[in-house]
């Protein structure tokens, strides 16, 4: 880890006035420290935003849920309001990483963490995402890599919270030196074709200052499932969030987002469309699960993910019929 300066920002303004690419944001610090220890980055200054007041609130207003970027995953997973109304979000927060990390890691940091691809994380591999010539995963060890949109770079998006947040239609407020802007999460993340060097559109001098989850339609329920290789803490080989609005047993509207599938959280549009107006049962869930994998381009070692995804998409849909 390189040596760096340290400053403790008291306000958002104080933080963003210092951010310039060489001075970087530190919130929970979990992913940042990992990158520094791996020598992937060598910032001159860490701007600590952890003590900025007012950025750690969970509030529900008329227009929905507002989550401060400094809310920890642990708090999100235990918050009564989130658990009751935005269940999948609490489930995703509670299944991410380890209890210790969940006590430290923040919602904002979870959305902004860099990919976990083992080639990206190793200083020795100068991959495309780091400005190099090739993606080492494409003909390398790719069992945990993307099955969609994986031609240029096969990372999977690392954020667990992004999966339910995108399914809920969340937006993020980005505050920088030129003011604040609000962006749909769907437009926040960036595909390798758009820009292979980054995963989102945040500028170096911007902070996520709020995450907004719109008010849910009546009779809307959500469920999140993460499948890892082991039951205790692990990265997902596949995860899914299904948000279903129902009338009786009929699905009015479905929002289904897959994690660990593509370089961005991946909306399963065909599966969503197939459920609209249908009775939720084994048959319709199975058909939606099959459609969620349509168009997949698995690599040499990750074809198994298709079956895993089909199983968890089906289960996430059926859980809503039974709940």
């Amino acid at each position: 880890m390189n040596r760096f300066e340290w400053t403790d920002a008291a306000t958002v303004h104080e933080a963003i006035s210092q951010l310039n690419g060489r001075a970087v944001v530190k919130a929970g610090g979990v992913d940042l420290l990992d990158r520094l220890k791996e020598g992937l980055e060598a910032p001159q200054r860490l701007v600590n935003i952890r003590n900025i007041r007012g950025l750690d609130r969970i509030e529900e207003g008329k227009d929905g849920l507002r989550i401060g970027p400094l809310v920890t995953l642990a708090r999100l997973s235990e918050d009564k309001l989130v658990l009751e109304r935005y269940t999948a979000l609490a489930q995703a927060a509670g299944r991410a990483a380890t209890p210790q990390i969940r006590n430290m890691a923040t919602a904002g940091g979870n959305l902004l963490q860099r990919p976990r691809c083992w080639y990206f994380r190793q200083e020795e591999f100068h991959c495309r995402r780091k400005g190099g010539e090739r993606c080492f995963a494409l003909d390398g060890e790719n069992q945990y890599h993307a099955i969609f949109d994986n031609q240029l770079c096969a990372i999977v998006h690392p954020s667990a919270l992004a999966v339910p947040l995108m399914a809920f239609g969340a937006r993020v407020v980005l505050t920088g030196s030129k003011g604040a802007r609000e962006v749909e999460l769907e437009r926040f993340f960036v595909t390798p074709e758009q820009d292979i060097m980054r995963e989102n559109i945040i500028a170096p001098d911007e902070l996520i200052t709020e995450i907004k989850v719109p008010r849910l339609q009546p009779a809307t329920r959500s469920f999140y499932i993460k499948q890892g290789e082991k039951e205790s803490f692990d990265w997902p080989v596949a995860d899914v969030c299904a948000v279903l609005q129902t009338k009786g047993n009929v699905c009015l509207k479905a929002s289904i987002v897959l994690g660990a599938a593509a370089p961005v959280p991946w909306r399963a549009s065909k599966a969503e469309a197939s459920l609209a107006g249908k009775v939720i049962n084994e048959q319709s869930a199975r058909e939606a699960a099959r459609l969620s994998m349509e168009g997949a381009t698995p690599l040499a070692q990750n074809r198994y993910k298709l079956a895993v995804f089909e199983a968890i998409v089906r289960r996430a849909i059926l859980r809503q019929a039974s709940s």
Binding site: M1, N2, R3, F4, E5, W6, T7, D8, A9, A10, T11, H13, E14, S17, Q18, K26, G29, V30, L33, D34, L36, K37, R45, L46, N48, R50, N51, A97, T98, P99, Q100, I101, N103, M104, S232, F233
Partner: protein, 218 residues
Amino acid sequence: MSKHDEKEKQDAGAFGHVTRRGFLKGAGLTAAGAAIMENGLLGAKDAAAAEAEPVVVGPGRVPVTLRVNGTVQKVQVEPRTTLAEALRFELGLTGTKVVCDRGSCSACTVWLDSTPVCSCMTLAVDVGARKITTIEGLAQSEELHPVQEAFIEYDAMQCGFCTPGMIMSCAALLNHKANPTLDDVKQATSGNLCRCGTYPKVFEATLAAAKATRKGGE
């Protein structure tokens, strides 16, 4: 003289005469600085000035006050120093183990204000006023913590390297859940890797410690 040395000299110079920056630094870092402003020791004017000119320390060593196991300790560390390193190398508290150094194994678990965190992924300058409890701080004078007692009684260790972190996780669980289930224990230790595979004994010991504590409290 390297650029860094120059910077350190400047930093040291700031201590020589009372400047706002020097005063804040002398008073300790981060949370302490915020507390001073909160308590009104610095007027609104100074608070506004603080916003205009952020207090920057490092990259050389800076004074940091740590509240460890009920004592107040002053150390000089670089901003990049992790809490695990400060505990082990500055304070000699080597009970806290560093294994993966990436937050993946939880061997370095300590409590910050009773919340278990990875000390390897926490910077010492970032601890602020939070109280640190390490494995050395669990015992009350000569009396071991009930979880420590149970680990001995139930033989819940093999090589022992994961044990301090494992005990900090289990003891934290008992602090907020007097009557945990087996699943609670599994969940609390889900981040603690034990490559000897002593988990069943750890679970047994923790449930026994909970039982013993409940009995003792009756």
